[in-house]
């Protein structure tokens, strides 16, 4: 129902005939629902302002070196967030590199290839990945994935594939570290990318597929030339949405990244992310400076997440608009 101002008569008119009176309930109701709706932007702004104000002293004190300095030293009150920013970007990038082909492949499988009987259970199981809490991924990361990285993955990369001389794969392997965090993140964002991709693929009109097949295209050529192009910006939107998840993911990363504020080319080395530095240090931050620095990290993370989310929504919305 749209706002139709004329729907309410003037309540309590001076003569108050038999058909006048009471639209108070409607007015109250409209106010209450409007208030609820406005609370959403209000909350977002409130969160932004609160975190920014709390972090402002750190920005002010460190200036641009807050973002460029790689020295994070709470004991001496020096706060450079570069290692955390680097860790966030690198672990998310690893996650995207691993997750994107798998998630898109699985989505294409579900949307185009899977036999009917397999479609439901497989998409249910992939969705189930999203239902597993972050801490549980962390637990599994500590006790299964990290040892596996040390005992199998690292030796395979270093010795079997002879990649040990590359800077990314040089240095000692502890188990926990950037690559481990990236792999965990990849598993965690798979269901999100896959779900969005599946949806936009389904939105591609049937006629386009049939046209391609009628022209003699193979199944794969149809997918490549008729289905994927129509869904491209939606797929990119799904990937960016996954990126948003990865950037902000906290617990699992905190549990497997090693939590050391350093920048190292090696993906086997330990690191920090913006989310994990907050999770790991906030309760121990007794000095006001340290607290403000962590708040500033939170504010920066908020801005990055905001931008990434806006881009993702815009991309996905574009597909929805062109499909309908």
């Amino acid at each position: 129902m749209e706002d139709a101002p004329s729907i309410e008569g003037n309540p309590e008119g001076p003569t108050a005939p038999q058909m006048g009176g009471g639209a108070l309930g409607d007015r109250v109701y409209r106010w209450v629902t409007t208030l609820c709706a406005l609370l959403v932007p209000a909350l977002l702004i409130y969160i932004g302002i609160t975190v920014f104000v709390a972090g402002w002293p750190a920005f002010q004190k460190a200036g641009t070196s807050f973002f460029t300095s790689s020295r994070w030293d709470p004991v001496n009150g020096i706060f450079g967030a570069a290692p955390a920013i680097y860790g966030t970007l690198v672990s998310s990038a690893i996650a995207l590199v691993i997750a994107t082909p798998l998630a898109v492949g699985a989505a294409v499988f579900l949307a185009e290839l899977a036999p009917r009987w397999l479609r439901q259970p497989v998409s249910f199981l992939i969705d189930l990945l999203a239902a597993i809490p972050s801490v549980v991924y962390g637990l599994w990361g500590i006790f299964v994935l990290a040892p596996l990285m040390r005992s199998m993955v690292a030796p395979f990369l270093k010795h079997t594939l002879h990649l040990g001389d590359l800077p990314f794969f040089s240095g000692p392997v502890y188990g926990p570290g950037m690559l481990t965090a990236g792999v965990i993140l990849a598993i965690m964002i798979l269901p999100y990318i896959s779900a969005v991709t599946r949806e936009v693929l389904m939105a591609v009109p049937r006629s386009q597929r049939e046209a391609a097949l009628a022209l003699g295209a193979t199944r794969w050529e149809m997918i490549r030339d008729a289905v994927i192009p129509g869904a491209r910006s939606g797929i990119v939107g799904g990937i960016v949405l996954g990126l948003g998840r990865a950037l902000g993911e906290t617990m699992a990363v905190t549990m497997v990244i090693g939590n050391t504020p350093k920048i190292s080319a090696s993906l086997f080395s330990t690191g920090y992310t913006m989310a994990s530095i907050i999770a790991n240090e906030f309760n121990e931050a007794v000095s006001a400076d340290h607290q403000a620095a962590l708040m500033a990290v939170g504010a920066s993370l908020l801005v990055i997440a905001l931008i990434v989310n806006v881009i993702a929504r815009w991309l996905v919305a574009r597909v929805g608009a062109s499909a309908s």
Binding site: E2, V40, A106, F109, S194, T218, T250, F282, R313
Partner: protein, 279 residues
């Protein structure tokens, strides 16, 4: 032609493979959970409190109850606002404000939970110098708002306009039409949306780290720090004690069971039930 055929077979095989690889970690994780955690799931786990670090035994009764209390507070604080906002969005579909709110709800939904955590700390913990169940529950509640709002909107939109008109034509006021007829008809869907939102925050840890904090003892007071299953799981997983590690696996099983239970309830609620008389 041969090359095209080979490319076709290879690429299609890769898609199948991708789906299989995606499912691999799921089975790996679930298998490990059951293997490592099952043996620790005994009566003590559900009835006892944690023991001091290093000693064997004890349970997570207080964490389980704490989680339920936090989810209760979250529902109480998040659902009314979320549902109210959803009703607004459904009833003012094309209004510019609605478009903005819809968009920002999606943005709020994508905000990192740790940011919600430090926000809740700054607003609800710092001023009173006191960690509390209330602050943790509200942090979770904030996370429930955008999701509830969007699902409520979708569900209300499925109610045909003719039903709304029928109520108005009977002399129903707008608010009664909206609540007693439209929202009532969409209720199963709204409940489903609420439960989905609840399932989503049930496993959250980050917003609780600096708000509910955790508690080794029984507490049901909203103004005191309270334990939660994910918090306890985190503590035990990162501890050096074997018995705690074992209990962390058991806690994972319980936590996933809790999330799935809420999700299943959501599916049951989604089933339409017609013809139930109310009065």
């Amino acid at each position: 032609m041969m090359r095209r055929k080979i490319a076709n077979v290879v690429m299609l095989a890769l898609m199948w493979l991708a789906a299989a690889i995606v499912l691999l970690p799921l089975f790996a994780i679930l298998a490990r959970l059951v293997m490592q955690g099952w043996s620790s799931l005994n009566l003590d786990f559900f009835t006892k409190e944690p023991l001091s670090p290093g000693s064997t035994g004890g349970g997570m009764a207080n964490s389980i109850v704490g989680s339920l209390i936090l989810l209760f507070i979250a529902s109480l604080s998040g659902l009314p606002v979320g549902i109210g906002a959803g009703i607004y969005l459904a009833e003012h579909r094309t209004a510019p404000v609605a478009k903005l709110v819809r968009f920002l709800a999606d943005v709020l939904n994508g905000l990192p939970s740790i940011v919600i955590g430090i926000f809740a700390w700054e607003m609800l913990v710092k001023p009173v110098h006191h960690f509390s169940a209330l602050s943790g529950g509200i942090a979770l509640g904030v996370m429930m708002i955008p999701l509830t709002a969007r699902t409520t909107e979708e569900m209300i939109r499925t109610v045909p306009t003719s039903l709304r008109e029928a109520a108005l034509a009977l002399g129903y006021t707008n608010w009664r039409t909206s609540l007693a007829i439209v929202a009532r008809t969409a209720l199963p869907g709204i409940v489903t949306g609420a439960l989905v939102a609840l399932a989503r925050v049930a496993g959250e840890t980050a917003p609780l780290l600096f708000t509910a904090l955790g508690n080794n003892f029984w507490s049901v007071s909203p103004t005191q720090p309270i334990d939660a299953l994910p918090l306890r799981l985190f503590l035990y997983a990162t501890s050096p004690y074997d018995d705690w590690n074992r209990q962390a696996w058991a806690a994972s099983i319980v936590l996933i069971a809790l999330v799935l239970l809420i999700s299943i309830a959501a599916r049951i609620a989604a089933r339409p039930r017609f013809g139930k008389a109310v009065d």
